[in-house]
């Protein structure tokens, strides 16, 4: 008998990556998706195609699933395991759904604080953090979409989850909290930081996909520079193994440039305010680097490119309104919440105009 897994979110990770770690011979997947158009298509097709890039080629998997529900239609107590991949802001809408569930719940939400917060809010101790160390596009090349409009492309990644959730099974590395913390730190600052910088720089230059952005030498140079700044920072700060960090960094630059992925700039750049959180991948990264004496020159350019993100359909489209209406000091203090006494504030103010000029010229 197959284990039943309920997946909240049929987006990039949910549809693209999860079918690879829960093979259909052992697991029966169902989805909850609140995008009515996507849900309708899933309900109509009852299957979709996910492609994994491996050794420069695509490997195809047709995923047949049991159900696709609208949020609230599902009965989460009817499953052996639950995965969420809905987005760090949206996951709080699941509090009621998760409150009565006793099976392992694993959150793939790119924020290590969220499992703790949800545990408090639901009163449940079966909520765990997971790190899918993988880039998954939320779309696919046109020829794949012609065959199946639900096609999606993912890397051949690895996935780490707290060992308390081991009953969930799947092709997952269950690790201690200490090991997960190391993997998360590496992912947040060596993957997420340069990844979103590549996206913001690409957005400034009208690029559609990450690999197009990385193909531009001037952008690659800034992304690589940011990666190096974070590598030096992490080695000093967390005593991470130098070889591990160097290996990870090289791997990341190759991932961002993967021409098979078709990873949209809009997906990676979305919600800039979240990424500009005080402890998140941009401001948080630059603060860390300053704390160990590493000058965040390229990170600063990345932060500025996020400030300048101009996408009217983004949830955080109002970053442009605030950038246009406020002086830089006010923007940093009131909107980004950087304290005027901090070194990063002073650095950003000092380099503000120079950074904008640099970014325009890349």
């Amino acid at each position: 008998m197959k284990n039943k897994i309920l997946v909240y979110g049929a987006g990039a990770i949910g549809r693209g990556y999860i079918p690879w770690i829960f093979p259909s011979d052992r697991y029966e997947l169902s989805f909850v998706e609140n995008n009515s158009e996507l849900r309708g298509l899933l309900q109509k097709q009852k299957e979709f195609t996910t492609y994994r890039t491996k050794s420069g080629q695509y490997v195809k998997l047709i995923c047949e699933f049991k159900d696709c529900f609208d949020l609230g239609e599902e009965d989460p107590t009817d499953y052996d395991g639950i995965i969420t991949a809905v987005g760090a802001r949206q996951v709080y809408a699941l509090i009621d759904s998760l409150s009565n569930v006793d099976c392992p719940i694993v959150l793939f939400e790119n924020d290590s604080k969220i499992p703790l917060e949800l545990s408090e809010l639901t009163g449940k101790s079966n909520i765990y953090f997971g790190v899918p160390d993988v880039i998954t596009s939320n779309t696919a090349p046109a020829e794949m979409l012609e065959q199946d409009p639900l096609s999606i492309v993912t890397e051949d990644g690895v996935c780490f989850v707290e060992d308390g959730a081991v009953d969930l099974g799947g092709d997952i590395s269950y690790v201690s909290q200490e090991e997960l913390s190391k993997q998360w730190t590496a992912k947040l600052y060596l993957h997420n930081t340069p990844h979103c910088i590549a996206a913001y720089l690409g957005a400034m230059h009208g690029k559609t996909y990450l690999h197009e952005s990385m193909a531009r030498d001037s952008i690659y140079s800034i992304v690589e520079g940011a990666m190096n700044e974070m590598s030096r920072t992490l080695i000093q700060l967390f005593d991470l193994d130098k070889e591990f960090v160097e290996w990870y960094s090289k791997k990341e630059l190759a991932r961002f440039s993967n021409v098979l992925l078709y990873d949209p700039v809009l997906r990676v750049a979305r919600e800039p305010f979240r990424k500009l959180g005080l402890h998140d991948r941009l401001i948080g990264a630059a603060q860390l680097s300053l704390s160990v004496g590493v000058m965040p020159n390229n990170l600063t350019l990345g932060i500025m490119s996020a400030f300048l993100y101009d996408e009217e359909h983004d949830e955080d489209f109002h970053i442009k309104i605030l950038m246009n209406s406020l002086e830089k000091e006010k923007f940093l203090k009131l909107i980004i919440n950087v304290n005027p006494h901090e070194a990063l504030y002073k650095l950003l103010v000092k380099k503000w105009d120079e950074s904008i000029d640099t970014l325009k010229g890349i």
Binding site: F273, D316, H318, L322, S325, L326
Partner: protein
């Protein structure tokens, strides 16, 4: 800058000026009642806002608290209260703000409210949404009994024969909720409603500039908002803004006929 950006820029610039002078004593004049005072800083702040509006939106029409209507007579106009909560301000109570809105055909289309003490910028555009600083606001339907409320009466419309009615409603609202506040700033009341800190805000004969931005901010956050210009010459407004369940509750439990809505 577009008009929303102009409104935010002007509100924050004037708010900075208010903070530069906060805690200092200024010449105070009574206007129409003991509580309705104007200080030098009101006028300074208004001058700051006016200079930004006239530079950024040349030829515009502006209705201000201190100087009345400025510019050509038009139904598309800026409405400015450069210091809402003057009494709080002069008593060093940090609950005051700058309120700037743009109205088209007697309806609000843009609003910005800045409390310089807390650093909160509330802003909204019709049909686009409501925000405080970087955060989008979505009002939850919190019931009246589970939250605070606020009510604002106007000193200028003081009507001794109705005073007991006003305080009667205030008392009823106080008992139906976790407390009814009279904060001294109608604009901040509406901002706090949009932020979920109040579940209901209402006012009788408030000046339009006190609530012009806040009504839109509350509505765009998801509040049920109703207002009526009861005296166009004096710019008086009656209004209620609330979570849907709170509004339903008071229309069931309180005689609301005193409000011309």
């Amino acid at each position: 800058m577009n008009r929303l950006e102009i409104a935010i820029n002007a509100a924050v610039s004037a708010g900075d000026l208010l903070m530069d002078h906060y805690g200092k004593v200024y010449g105070i004049k009574n206007k129409e009642s003991l509580r309705d005072v104007v200080s030098e800083i009101d006028e300074l702040s208004e001058s700051k806002v006016m200079s930004i509006l006239q530079e950024s939106d040349p030829g515009c029409t502006v209705l201000t608290e201190e100087k009345g209507l400025i510019g050509p007579d038009s139904d598309s106009r800026w409405i400015v209260d450069a210091l809402d909560g003057t009494v709080n301000y002069i008593h060093n109570i940090p609950f005051f703000c700058v309120s700037i809105s743009y109205w088209v055909d007697n309806r609000p289309s843009i609003g910005a409210i800045y409390n310089p003490y807390s650093g909160d910028i509330y802003y909204a555009e019709k049909g686009v949404g409501c925000f405080v600083n970087q955060k989008r606001l979505h009002l939850l339907d919190v019931e009246l009994g589970n939250n605070l409320t606020a009510m604002a009466f106007s000193g200028k419309a003081y009507n001794p024969s109705m005073r007991s009615t006003e305080f009667g409603i205030f008392g009823q609202l106080n008992d139906l909720s976790q407390g009814c506040l009279r904060t001294g700033s109608a604009a901040m009341n509406l901002s706090y409603l949009s932020h979920g800190k109040f579940s209901l805000v209402m006012g009788k004969a408030n000046k339009l500039w006190d609530v012009a931005a806040g009504l839109l901010i509350a509505e765009e956050a998801g509040a049920d908002v109703k207002f009526n210009m009861t005296d166009k010459q004096k710019h008086l407004v009656d209004y209620i803004a609330a979570t849907p369940s709170s509004k339903k509750k008071i229309y069931t439990d309180i005689d609301m006929s005193y409000f011309d809505l």
